[in-house]
């Protein structure tokens, strides 16, 4: 009798448990299935398990494919210095037996917060050893340098070595702390639009707006629009609010897909970045409440989208570059910005006291302007994916710091954590030896070559 009762109780619990797990699996909130804290880079989308785990029983190759679906383009853009193709050469078979560097998840294990080294992704500490164990034979400077310091700020970056490779260090060794021509490149989206358009673009005025008359649009909205680059480039109300292929009827609040019709590069970056990655997976928009960084309480529930920073109809890029950020961000670095020399330059530029392009806003560093060459012309756009310019911070060197500063100063500043916290008020208190070592090695090699020639 007791045994029968035990069976009934066990079956009831098993059924209730299965029912609960089954219903959560089919529902929106799958938190119960997350096996551990997800990394800073993925936690926003952790409840869309299928983004990485394409199939319930998908193993390494499936995960690898999914990693590259989101990160492949960025790895190409930064010219990944350790691409997969290097490791699949059979001559490296013994090396990948130790650490299979041809697979992202060999180093970047998800749901393992204890392996996070403060970079937003998990990382082993001394993986360089397996291929570069004899580095000190070739570079005496590295003789007493432990392998768990290779990736320290200003030294090496496994994927993006574009600002740290030896010849680059030597070439930029003598640059002054601040360059004489320090300024950011001017955005030229409107100019490019004019260039590719088959006919000259007309500047629209308030009388040209094509919003349906039954809407009774506020006059201020029309006046705001008239002042924008949109009106100057013949972009009318219907071009955003009723976009063919996206919505066939008028929408008061068009979503990012409408912006994407003209701003493909910007939107593509945005939905890969921390602000917009949830939108790309059709999740609800990111809000400051979901952030892991300190955010201002009063704006915790603001839904992120293009217009949350760019403010619809005015699309004021000056506002979007500082005010929009400080409306939410409340960490020490953000709070210190307005006391920095960077902000002073920004203020002067916008008050007409300083030269155009010399001001440094939040966006100047964290959503930097990228220059791409197309048919011999520079196309300057804002990269809205901040992941490529955030951590590790030496990824900012090429597209951000070197616009205005010398390489040595930049490396030192990025290695000084207290200087970063106070938003670069003052000079770096640390010195990274990379350039000194590279220059000394180049001089020694040159001397050896000359000796060899004399012999």
């Amino acid at each position: 009798m007791a045994s029968r009762r035990a069976w009934i109780i066990w079956c009831s619990f098993a059924l209730a448990g299965s029912g609960y797990l089954g219903s959560t699996l089919l529902g929106q909130d799958k938190t119960v299935y997350v096996p551990g804290t997800t990394s800073d880079g993925h936690y926003q989308i952790e409840l869309r398990c299928d983004t990485c785990h394409a199939y319930a029983f998908g193993g390494g190759p499936v995960l690898q494919k999914r990693c590259l679906t989101c990160h492949g383009e960025e790895l190409q853009r930064i010219q990944d210095s350790h691409p997969r193709r290097v490791f699949i050469d059979p001559r490296n078979a013994d090396r990948i037996a130790d650490v299979d560097a041809s697979q992202c998840i060999s180093c970047h294990k998800e749901h393992r917060p204890e392996m996070d080294r403060g970079m937003g992704v998990t990382l082993p500490v001394d993986f360089c050893f397996y291929c570069h164990e004899d580095i000190a034979e070739d570079r005496l400077s590295h003789r007493d340098v432990p392998f768990d310091t290779c990736a320290d700020a200003g030294c090496h970056n496994f994927h993006d070595n574009s600002g740290l490779y030896e010849a680059f260090l030597v070439k930029n060794a003598e640059a002054p702390d601040t360059l004489d021509i320090a300024k950011v490149p001017k955005r030229n989206a409107a100019e490019v639009r004019r260039m590719v358009n088959k006919r000259p673009l007309r500047r629209l005025t308030r009388d040209d707006h094509d919003a349906p008359r039954y809407l009774d649009v506020e006059e201020q909205i029309i006046l705001d629009w008239e002042e924008t680059a949109h009106a100057k480039s013949e972009v009318n109300c219907m071009d955003c609010h009723q976009v063919a292929g996206i919505t066939n009827e008028w929408r008061d609040n068009p979503e990012f897909k409408a912006c994407n019709t003209c701003h493909k590069m910007e939107v593509s970056g945005y939905i890969q970045g921390k602000h917009g990655m949830r939108l790309a997976l059709e999740l609800s928009p990111m809000t400051p409440a979901q952030a892991r960084l300190p955010m201002k309480k009063k704006n915790r529930d603001n839904a992120m989208g293009c217009t949350s920073c760019h403010r619809s109809h005015r699309f004021d890029t000056v506002d979007a570059a500082v005010k929009a950020c400080l409306k939410c961000h409340d960490d020490q670095h953000s709070k210190a910005y307005k006391a920095s020399l960077h902000f002073d330059l920004w203020r002067k530029e916008n008050e007409g006291e300083g030269e155009t392009g010399r001001g440094v806003s939040c966006a100047t560093c964290h959503l930097p302007r990228e220059v791409r060459r197309h048919r011999g012309k520079d196309i300057v756009r804002v990269q809205h994916n901040q992941n490529g310019n955030l951590r590790p911070n030496e990824t900012m060197i090429r597209d951000v710091c070197l616009r205005c500063h010398g390489l040595s100063f930049s490396l030192d500043a990025l290695a000084d954590e207290s200087l970063i916290r106070n938003n670069f008020k003052g000079g770096p208190a640390r010195h990274v030896k990379s350039i000194d070592w590279a220059v000394a090695r180049a001089k020694n090699a040159q001397r050896d070559k000359e000796r060899q020639r004399v012999k």
């Binding site: 699949i88 001559r91 078979a93 010849a167």
Partner: protein, 192 residues
């Protein structure tokens, strides 16, 4: 009667074994010959592409027309990739796109130490190329639990640009290369 049956069976088994052994050897030899021909053909394509790129692109635009430079840091310098870099990038691209063979450039005096010989076959093969100018080296090796037919072909300095770059480069361990010297080798591996 039963004794003769046993003898006949024994004879048949022995004959069968001999035939299959002979056939196996022939098949194995044929297979190796086939792999050798395949490696030679692949090398012919690689060598032709490299020669054309060096001669009609780099030499013409850099030395004759002087309209662009060729540089090791070609992206930053907005220049042409060096012929050896072009070769290496194509090798990596081919492997990445799933080609059922692998190839690379190796040397006893590489600018990048990662291109030194690592496996026994690479060491033996490169030494053979140095000791026997103009000859190729063929063999078999096991890497990562897989058997490969491996072929090495001499990489000879054919232009001043090859010699000057390797002699002058700060990371090159040798600075007395001359035209006609074997500077290294092209290695091709085909899974067996």
């Amino acid at each position: 009667m039963s004794q003769s049956i046993v003898r006949m069976i024994g004879l048949s088994v022995a004959l069968g074994m001999l035939i299959s052994l002979g056939f196996g050897c022939t098949t194995e030899q044929g297979s190796t010959m086939h792999l050798k021909r395949m490696a030679d053909s692949l090398y012919a394509v690689m060598a032709a592409d490299r020669k054309i790129y060096s001669k009609l692109v780099v030499n013409r635009l850099v030395n004759e027309e002087a309209v662009i430079k060729a540089s090791e840091h070609w992206r930053d310098d907005r220049a042409l990739p060096l012929p050896a870099q072009m070769f290496r990038m194509a090798a990596e691209e081919a492997m990445d796109s799933g080609a059922n063979f692998a190839y690379s450039l190796l040397s006893l005096w590489p600018i990048n130490p990662q291109n030194k010989p690592r496996t026994d076959m690479e060491k033996t093969g490169l030494k053979y190329l140095m000791d026997n100018p103009g000859k190729n080296y063929y063999g078999e090796e096991s890497l990562g639990g897989r058997r490969y037919f491996t072929a090495l072909y001499p990489d000879v300095a054919v232009a001043d640009a090859c010699v000057d770059c390797h002699n002058d480069h700060k990371d090159s361990p040798k600075s007395d290369f001359e035209i006609g010297d074997t500077m290294g080798g092209v290695i091709i591996r085909i899974p067996m």
